[in-house]
Symmetry: C2
Subunit: 453 residues, 2 copies
């Protein structure tokens, strides 16, 4: 099975702007299920996604990673469809399917020939409320998840550093723990934990169904009513805010792991579209990320990699679509003979420059064009269109935000970019982790060169 945890991959995903010719149609069923449909008749294909408002940031200590574990268990069968049948039926219908868990959501999707949408709906509605959670299946799937953690985190120096880094940078935000969960928590999942998690969060009034493709929206609403309409809603208690305390000074850590190359990650506490006092701040941070890391002509590549040849690679990342405030991150690997500390100074000099100098009109225009080009490119994919709608909806912003992206990015001024650099990229709100490479033994694969962005 090809399920995956998408974590860092999603961090830099811009919002595609909606096509005015094919607006999003929305219907909320009586049981609270929200259905979003975007018709796209360019090919006879449909993408169907079910988004649950639950992810690792919903998890209490002791059972971290349980949303991801439950995602795996969602393929283990129901009364109607025993274990394995879900994937078999989708495959028999020529479909492609997958699932992913993030900090703020758990999502399931199928891509199929458009007429097969009922197959997807029937299966998803079935497992929304009637999942079998059996000790034997959990035991088996725990091995899969344990192995997944080993491969993706424990044997991946960058990911390992990232995990320790997040745990330091956040004091009380639930973003401090990894999506896949801490090892001791994974080792101690019980069927009852999964059952409780499933019953608490998997309900029509905690889900959004997003359909993009060669469909008629009214027909999709009717289908949704037919398959999902009979499911009972749950009482969903509001989450506690867990607002991160204010950071009162810089934090630094060394992380010693087997690896070939040193590297560093820096993160400043920043607001997102969900938490910013003014929307423009989040869009200005998005543009600022583009100034530093928007292709090969952006500043980090141009000045630190090619110019001063301080770095083998250097990048910046910011996500404006998350439920809680997060980090504006810089990551870099020093060139041979250069230290992580030299590189850190150079990265900070770039931040200082953004705080002092206005980005020129030409550079700003180029960056905006690049940021928007990325969005346009993604609009070409039904999957990404659905994903953006689902994500906006699930973090509480509402899918309508997709419509504003282009104009909001275009409205960002050089002054605003400088303003957010001054307000948010402050030393007192900075955390830094240095990866200090340790000898790699024969068994350990060297994959520290793989950038996560």
């Amino acid at each position: 099975m090809n399920k995956q945890v998408i974590v860092s991959l999603l961090l830099c995903l811009p919002i595609a702007y909606s096509n005015a010719a094919t607006p999003v149609a929305e219907k909320i069923l009586a049981n609270g299920l929200k259905v979003l449909v975007k018709e796209d008749h360019r090919s006879p294909v449909v993408v169907s996604q079910v988004w649950y408002k639950v992810g690792s940031s919903y998890e209490p200590g002791g059972i971290t990673g349980i949303s991801h574990m439950l995602e795996h268990m969602m393929f283990k069968g129901t009364d109607k469809h025993p274990a394995g049948e879900f994937s078999r039926i989708i495959a028999e219908n020529g479909g492609d399917e997958n699932a992913f868990t993030g900090q703020d959501y758990t999502a399931y999707f199928q891509t199929m020939e458009a007429s097969r949408l009922p197959v997807s709906f029937e299966l998803e509605a079935d497992r929304m409320r009637h999942l079998h959670l059996l000790a034997d299946e959990l035991k088996k799937e725990l091995q899969v998840v344990t192995e997944e953690r080993r491969m993706r985190t424990d044997d991946n120096p960058q990911a390992k550093m990232g995990e320790h880094f997040n745990a330091m940078a956040y004091s009380n935000s639930p973003y401090k723990h990894p999506v896949i969960g801490w090892p001791a928590d994974i080792a101690n999942y019980q069927v009852e934990d999964l059952q409780a998690w499933y019953q608490r969060w998997y309900a029509p009034n905690n889900a959004t169904v997003v359909v993009v493709g060669d469909v008629d929206s009214k027909a999709v609403f009717a289908l949704a009513e037919q398959y999902f309409g009979g499911l009972k809603p749950s009482e969903i208690k509001p989450l506690k805010p867990q607002t991160e305390i204010e950071q009162l000074g810089v934090r630094k850590m060394t992380v010693k792991v087997p690896a070939k190359l040193p590297s560093l990650v820096m993160g400043y506490k920043v607001p997102t579209l969900t938490t910013a006092e003014h929307d423009w701040e989040a869009y200005a941070l998005e543009v600022l990320a583009g100034v530093l890391d928007g292709g090969s002509s952006a500043r980090l590549s141009k000045e630190l990699v090619r110019g001063k040849q301080l770095a083998v690679s250097a990048g910046a990342g910011y996500s404006l679509i998350t439920r809680l405030s997060n980090l504006f991150e810089l990551e870099a690997t020093p060139a041979e003979g250069k230290s992580v500390y030299e590189l850190e100074s150079a990265l900070k000099a770039q931040i200082t420059r953004l705080q002092l100098e206005l980005v020129s009109t030409e550079e700003l225009q180029r960056i905006k064009a690049q940021v928007l080009a990325g969005a346009v490119y993604e609009r070409d994919s039904g999957f990404y269109q659905a994903m953006q709608l689902g994500m906006l909806e699930t973090v509480g912003l509402g899918w309508q935000k997709a419509d504003e992206y282009v104009s909001k990015i275009n409205q960002v001024t050089a002054e605003q970019v400088r303003q957010v650099a001054r307000t948010y990229l402050r030393e007192d709100h900075l955390s830094v982790a240095y990866l200090e490479p340790q000898p790699i033994d024969g068994q350990t694969q060297n994959n520290n060169k793989k950038e996560e962005k």
Copy 2:
């Protein structure tokens, strides 16, 4: 009301050795309540304590501090005894009462003339299962707790630094969050949260009653049966282990708060009596703490405060009686003109010395005598005797450990002290926080000189 949160105060509490002439009598009632009695007929007084196995380390994110909040609410009345009556009755009977919450326990106690023990039992049994939790009372008491947090943490530079420090030093251990709770969590307690916490943890099979004083143990058991025997047990699910991940390198943070003096705190990850592979390691760490900070002739005072005059104060602390692994901490305030970094180097030089040189026979004997003298002194107090039994029982070690303390401390060798210094006081397992004083405004009280130890 004089309730308090005892946190750091408990960290350095040694175990008193039991008096062979007055052994502890134990009885477990049919409903699971454990009753411990230690007769002490020197004065006609009785100390009665009820210990619940619940504290801040049991709390999930979002409701941190709820054990402490519930401790406050435990004085808000039952069917039989309306709000305020508890304290009034105790006072009318000439008693003294209090309660405290820690990482691993919540405890309630009364000290009374020995014949009044039934008064205490009646009230404690009543509120163990029949507490009223009302929204109005919560609202009022929330103001008290909010003010308590402001005074004890937010306006106390050392405490504030300690809170940030713990959140950095621990990655996933529940010791990461403060006993009093994070501000956003305190601000969002609901009556249902407290109700659920009370129902989950307040039950005879999750409690230990400890009685020390001028009583007859058989009579106490009969009384306990009479008052507590009718209470129904609960199903108490075992806690998830939440084993802290291995730290892979040093961590450092600056904490900028209004204060007069800079200071620093250093913490090494160490095992406790509960988690050490061999008991002797925990006792050796206890002795090691005494070498550094066992009165004015101990090394930190002698060498850093009086000798080199680097520090105004310097201390070391370790607690061997906690449920989970914790930190061996060093705290110091530099002398005028000295920096926290100089002081850090000097503290590390002390650690290095312990790793290289054996403590001399004379010094070791003197330290052991001091450590044990502290224990003997505390044995004089019925309150502390009860406290030690309750704490040992509540963290899962069993009260019997109290008997071993003297012989185990006496058995610690200089080689063992060097061994634990080498094994556990490692740079890679170290976290450091530097308090960088900011200007104090007129409203802010200067209490940063107050040592927490």
